[in-house]
């Protein structure tokens, strides 16, 4: 009898500049494996299904609890977190590919630095006088407002929504749904709202909110179930109002 195995087909690429290729691996079946622990087994014994010893597969991971956002990849065609994807829920052979919207570093690793420069573009921060105590906190926040804000504050910059978004890509300027959600979050903080206008102007520029085609793919893949399209809807209305204010010369 053949021992039960876990079969994976992995898209590999040695450097950012070399061509991709596929390799097949089989590891002994174990209950409870997720994609990260399976990749750990492969890096320890990097032998292909037909018995060739190859370079270990490179990938990214840190928390292994679906909260750092590092381990995103395309698993059987869907962008998701490798650490929280259990083997037993997948059809085999399992196909692993790097996210396609970001430059490849090696194998399943990509360079997502653009996510963070876009957060800079939209000024996703609250302007405080300094990181010292001013003997006062922020103004009060109602439990209802908290509940909504909290949904957005869990975005871990994993890149899955950008992978799914038809408007996002290396050749395109669109900042992506996550940056828009960050603007929604900052604008709804009681003092963050003081600089709402600047953030709205940032997303009304090229590559901003008007590039969203409302395809709704983003919200379907977000592992944190962040209501991205709700945020985009709210911001759409606010930017229209802002546009009118800009035309008629009023502030806020």
């Amino acid at each position: 009898m053949m021992d039960k195995t876990i079969d994976l087909d992995i898209r590999r690429q040695d450097t950012p500049y070399s061509p991709p290729y596929w390799q097949a691996f089989s590891i002994p079946y174990r209950e409870g494996h997720n994609i990260v622990s399976a990749l750990m087994a492969i890096r320890e014994q990097p032998i292909t299904r037909d018995g060739h010893r190859v370079d270990p597969v490179a990938w990214e991971f840190n928390c292994m609890e679906e909260v750092c956002g590092a381990c995103s990849m395309i698993i059987n065609g869907h962008p998701r977190q490798a650490c929280s994807t259990l083997i037993d829920t997948l059809e085999q052979p399992i196909r692993l590919e790097p996210l396609s919207k970001f430059p490849i570093v090696r194998d399943l690793m990509v360079d997502r630095s653009r996510i963070f420069s876009d957060l800079k573009k939209v000024r996703a921060w609250i302007e405080i006088d300094g990181a010292w105590d001013i003997h006062e906190g922020a103004p009060r926040i109602s439990p209802e407002a908290w509940k909504e804000n909290y949904l957005y504050s869990r975005c871990m910059s994993c890149g899955c929504c950008m992978e799914a978004c038809p408007q996002y890509g290396p050749e395109k300027a669109f900042i992506g749904p996550d940056s828009l959600a960050a603007v929604r979050l900052m604008n709804n903080h009681p003092t963050g709202s003081y600089h709402k206008q600047q953030r709205l102007h940032a997303i009304m520029a090229d590559g901003g909110i008007s590039d969203c085609g409302n395809a709704q793919n983003c919200v379907r893949v977000c592992p944190k179930e962040i209501p991205l399209t709700t945020a985009i809807g709210e911001l759409g209305r606010q930017s229209t109002l802002q546009l009118l204010r800009d035309l008629f010369g009023k502030t806020q």
Binding site: N62, R106, D133, R154, M156
Partner: protein
């Protein structure tokens, strides 16, 4: 010409980002180095909360009580002035986080809500849903991004710290780092360096709740260049971690608090499914051994009991290192509502439902109380730590500072839940302020450090890489890491004795040698993760030696360090005033005289060198032993 002063921060968790922020705000240029985008740092894993006394629950909570709980919880081993300052400044720190936009959970009135956390009587823990660490880190991350946009901070993500560069007087003047994509090795000069590289749970292999960044290797590298470690024998083991091949995941105390029962089959050979084992064939050992507390005994007691069942009595489930944590007898609706976060994580990562079958758990390495030794300056006026003193959080290498979980500052022999997000943030802020003042007092100029010193260190590091990549040994670095984890958790874990610790030391020596004889089997020179990992592995083994040697040196039980041969327990049925109790109190004081000291570990050719330093007990002199009755 005078160049603007520059500071390097290694690590972008809570500690590192706070430090960077305060240095940038003081007007100095900051370079942050991190293994990956700082937003992905291990700090995001903390779920529970962060302590600060707000006394908004009508419980007359006080800052003094926070100080007392922290000091007693740490079995008096922490220097007291820094603890005092940390607890006093905690509310101000939380207010600052709130202004940064952290989404703390709210009361009906719109104030920050407080929850009860282990080991204390009052509600003192603020939290943000079930992801407090993530929210706190994002708060500072946003502020640092703003400083970045203003041109005061530059990030070097995907760079790994390898070593320090010192000038002729031994003052730290820069670092050597490796780019984790191109594998380039480069040097960066600086006027001061702050190390905030996090914890070291990975020394216990996959038997830890920590992320992969918590290898402790950055701290180990500065140790090899002369920095001291302190109190490294103190490691907190969380009793109820869910098992996994990749890591163990924390199941919070709440599971036991809400009625969860811990048990094993009486027959370890029993192969039946848990729910087919009849009641009378189960051993509810906590309930049997601690009738008054039952399953809700404190963390360390629970860890030791599980240890005993598995290692001394051989009753682990199926002969393995695990026991059951059972919720199946509880009302499903009730636990769904009360324990949602736990059920969620177990279902997601184990694929099984704790409502229907018992969870499998085991104690797991969770938090390092010990770490790099750091100084502080006493404030004569209020017996706290002197604000802004350049001595605060300075290591014994001039110009090198440490903060966050990689230092040893605030938790003594054991850490209270929700106190380490606080210490990581507070120490980062203090270190940033200390460094800013250190720079103001600095006379010489960077140009004085000859280029040669940087180049020599670069070539030393390149040689190490070359030797490792060309090594044709037999060993597999990942297999060795498993062995290290098993060794550390079985021999330097929850329960310790000197014979086993001696054996562990020689096994570690052996592992160290084997880790030189590796075969990386990696021909790619781009993003060579096997090379990076092997270098980390070698340093984790060295850290294992530091922890083990320190544990061997301390012949007593204190906090998380438990050596039953030297146990001193209060006499049964005797209370303060009774002669038997007073005799015990005297014995306890004698023990303090001998052992209430900071363990210092220093690198030497013959291995870790141990010495002891007095503890500053000026705030709360130890008069009362801890009494759990």
């Amino acid at each position: 010409m005078k160049r603007p002063r520059k500071v390097i921060v290694i690590g972008g968790g809570l500690g590192g980002l706070w430090a960077a922020l305060r240095v940038a705000e003081a007007g100095f240029q900051v370079d942050i180095f991190s293994l990956f985008e700082v937003k992905r740092s291990h700090s995001v894993c903390a779920q529970g909360g962060i302590n600060a006394c707000f006394d908004t629950k009508g419980e007359r909570d006080s800052v003094w009580q926070h100080i007392v709980d922290t000091l007693k919880g740490g079995a008096y081993l922490a220097n007291q002035p820094p603890v005092k300052s940390m607890c006093e400044e905690a509310p101000g720190l939380i207010r600052t986080f709130e202004r940064m936009g952290v989404t703390f959970s709210r009361t009906a009135e719109g104030l920050m809500d407080l929850r009860l956390f282990g080991g204390v009587k009052n509600r003192r823990t603020v939290f943000a849903g079930a992801s407090t660490g993530q929210q706190l880190l994002y708060g500072v991350d946003q502020e640092v991004r703003r400083q970045e946009a203003l041109g005061r901070v530059q990030k070097y993500e995907w760079w790994e710290f390898l070593s320090l560069v010192k000038d002729g007087q031994g003052v730290c003047k820069g670092i050597v780092v490796m780019n984790l994509r191109t594998m380039d090795i480069k040097s960066f000069p600086a006027d001061a360096v702050i190390l905030a590289s996090g914890g070291m749970g990975q020394v216990f292999g996959h038997r830890s709740t920590n992320s992969t960044n918590s290898t402790g290797t950055a701290a180990c590298r500065v140790y090899q260049q002369g920095a001291w470690f302190a109190n490294s024998e103190f490691f907190q083991f969380h009793p109820t971690a869910m098992l996994g091949d990749d890591k163990t995941r924390l199941m919070s105390e709440a599971a036991r608090g809400e009625g969860g029962r811990i048990w094993v089959p009486k027959d370890p050979g029993d192969r039946r499914k848990a729910n087919q084992i009849p009641e009378h064939e189960r051993l509810y050992f906590l309930e049997e051994w601690y009738p008054s507390y039952g399953n809700t005994v404190p963390r360390d007691v629970a860890s030791r009991a599980i240890w005993k069942i598995v290692h001394e009595m051989g009753l682990g489930v199926g002969g393995e290192d695990k026991v059951y944590l059972d919720l199946t007898h509880l009302n499903p609706g009730f636990i769904e509502q009360r324990l949602h976060a736990i059920l969620d994580i177990y279902r997601k990562f184990h694929g099984a439902d704790p409502v229907h079958e018992p969870m499998e758990i085991y104690p797991s390495a969770h938090y390092a109380m010990g770490g790099l030794w750091v100084d502080f300056e006493n404030d004569e006026t209020d017996s706290g730590m002197k604000p802004g003193s350049p001595r605060n959080h300075a290591t014994n290498i001039p110009g090198l500072y440490a903060c966050g979980e990689c230092d040893y500052g605030y938790h003594g022999a054991n850490r209270l839940g929700a106190n380490s997000l606080l210490s990581a943030s507070f120490s980062g802020r203090v270190a940033g302020e200390a460094v800013s003042n250190y720079l103001k007092g600095l006379q010489d100029d960077l140009q004085a450090v000859p280029e040669q010193r940087f180049n020599d260190e670069i070539s030393r590091q390149k040689t190490i890489n070359k030797q490792l990549t060309e090594s044709q040994g037999m060993e597999n670095p990942y297999t060795l890491h498993h062995e290290l984890g098993e060794l550390m958790s079985s021999q330097v874990g929850v329960v310790r004795n000197n014979t086993t610790l001696q054996e562990a030391l020689s096994s570690l020596q052996d592992l160290g040698q084997r880790s030189q004889a590796v075969n990386l089997r990696e021909t790619n020179t781009w993003s060579n993760q096997a090379l990076v990992f092997t270098r980390q592995l070698q340093d984790m083994i060295r850290l294992g030696q530091v922890i083990t040697a320190s544990a061997l040196a301390r012949d007593e039980c204190r906090g998380a360090h438990y050596k039953p041969a030297f146990d001193l327990t209060a006499p049964k049925d005797a209370y303060p005033g009774d002669p038997a109790y007073e005799a015990y109190r005297d014995a306890w004081k004698q023990q303090n005289k001998k052992w209430l000291k900071t363990t210092i570990t220093e690198q030497s050719d013959s291995g870790p060198l141990i010495s002891f330093q007095p503890v500053d007990l000026s705030v709360l002199p130890p008069e009362e032993p801890r009494d759990y009755r």
